[in-house]
Subunit: 348 residues, 2 copies
């Protein structure tokens, strides 16, 4: 029997959770202090109006800056319910819950939806499917943790349990500081004219991809996670200054690249394992519909699984370079098969 | 009639140019002060031994740190030849050529091969095809520039002409500093344990992708382009410190993100135009061979051209998320078609 669940906040995250749990047969109610958002969420199946029955589980899905106060209020307003929230910074909210004296009923959540998602009208039940959903129990009762865990389980997320402070330190390094650094690299393009910027290759496009995202909740996130973010920025600044100040800038950069390489190897690739050493096979692909499909069809004929793809469009030319990342043992067969089919291999 | 061409340096770049020009019917000779490299290059068709006939064009393809001296020597050794080089920093080499008094016969080149390429055995004639090839005339005679330009034309590159100093300032911003910043972001992961690093999403993977590359020639490049690199790092450091020191870190970060967004929009996407506003359609894809092919086949059925693809493997789950970037006007049809075929759309 699924818990009677009440969602406070009918934005993208709250509404998506509501739709997803409703689809799994849960009894869900939802509210928002914005009447229009509340009406929209109810109309798209994200939940009903709260009735007389008290909820067993309350999910606070409000902007990060409001989460601490709304969680504290929810713990008082629903004295028998377990409360969770979905903000992307966890320690300040855990502290607010602790201050109420009811923190045994509070479990922090951080559902890690992808960067491509934004806009309140985009709510959908499987927004979090196959993504990590972090739980921060931080002293909550065991049955409270088990109850909250049923949400990511129902939504088919990858449940990860960790301490709130450790979570905030980690997301500062894997998410918040990378955003700041990517934006700073992009901002440094400001003195270049268009012809100069046109020298950009795939490397710059990769580094600055997240710099194209909307500011959205970043201001809130930076304020709430300031200490960890500043600590991480200090680490990055110190490394940049070490290169900048070095007597031998070449040696200093080699040292930094070596340290960076060591760490990138720890970023998980597939299924929680370390990044595999995939072999890139770069193919020249005419930039017309269907070519990528032809390429992958020829790839499939030799039973090679494509682990990743990078597509680089060529400035001013009607062809692009597509790099297929495959297991090293598959690369020679793939190259031979593609050449047999008439593809030009630019690098492998 | 193609110019008699002599290549000094039989590493990946020199040998690849030799193979490419030979394939176009050019008469090419090649030498290397490493006997083994020289023999290998000659055996794979990168050029013959230099005979009695003096070359009309000399291409210096030695490591960046040696390029200035070898260019100056080549201008003296071949007094009737036009000389170019392929180092990725241009002003110091132009200065060395100028100091010989023979700079009317020197034109700098920077063929911008992709980041995936490395290793001397990987030489191939179309290494540079469809990539930018920068020419820096810097006071060379017009016929010298025209002669050197025949190389990228023969190799089907995208020829870009610019001043050597402007080139170096530009590559510091679009290539060298982004490498340093990506490595610094990666190095900052050092304090995290494996579970924490596992929170990494596609954003971190994008930012740190080039941080996984080998140090290679970066030490040389940083030394030769130190002034421009330091200036760019100072810009980046100042932006990071502005965020770090701000009274309101949220406001400062929003400002930086806004500036970064403005600049990323100037990075060319397809065919020299500004990055298009592609619409992402994210699909849940079982992580087994052939699934990506099926997905693209269903995409092709509705005549939608895929502009870019991002594949995100899900830690610990046998599915991945694949994002197809398409023209906004194509997105609704694509989503409908994929859903009809039974695909789960995670976001669009």
């Amino acid at each position: 029997m699924s818990p009677r669940t009440h969602i406070v906040g009918a934005g993208l995250i709250g509404a998506s959770i509501g739709i997803g749990l409703t689809a799994e047969g849960w009894s869900v109610t939802i509210e928002d202090n914005d009447d229009e958002a509340q009406a929209l969420a109810r109309s798209i199946g994200a939940g009903d109006a709260l009735g007389d029955a008290q909820p067993e589980l309350v999910i606070v899905a409000v902007p990060p800056s409001a989460a601490a106060a709304v969680v504290a209020a929810a713990l008082g307003r629903f004295p028998d319910a377990v409360v969770t929230d979905v903000a992307s910074v966890k320690a300040p909210i855990a502290a607010a819950a602790h201050a109420t004296g009811a923190s045994s009923r509070y479990v922090g959540s951080h559902p890690m939806a992808g960067r491509e998602v934004s806009g309140g009208l985009g709510a959908q039940g499987d927004l979090f499917k196959a993504r990590p959903w972090v739980l921060c129990p931080n002293g909550a009762a065991e049955d409270a943790v088990a109850l909250v865990a049923r949400v990511p389980e129902a939504l088919q997320c990858d449940v990860v349990t960790m301490d709130a402070e450790a979570h905030d330190a980690a997301v500062a390094r894997v998410s918040h500081a990378p955003q700041v650094a990517a934006s700073a690299v992009a901002a440094a393009l400001g003195i270049l004219d268009a012809d100069d910027v046109a020298l950009a290759g795939q490397g710059l496009r990769d580094v600055t991809r997240i710099a194209a995202s909307l500011p959205g909740m970043w201001a809130d996130i930076a304020r709430l996670n300031r200490a960890h973010l500043v600590e991480t920025l200090d680490h990055i600044i110190a490394d940049l200054e070490e290169v900048r100040e070095a007597d031998d800038i070449g040696e200093a950069l080699t040292d930094l690249i070596d340290r960076g390489r060591y760490e990138t190897a720890r970023i998980p690739g597939k299924h929680g394992g370390a990044t595999r050493d995939w072999t890139p096979v770069t193919v020249i692909v005419p930039d017309t519909p269907g070519q990528l499909l032809r390429l992958l069809a020829h790839t499939a004929e030799v039973d090679v699984n494509v682990e990743d793809i990078a597509i680089e469009h060529s400035p001013r030319q009607p062809v692009g370079l597509t790099t297929l990342y495959v297991l090293p043992s598959h690369a020679p067969d793939l190259v031979a098969a593609l050449e047999r089919q008439g593809w030009e291999i630019a690098a492998s």
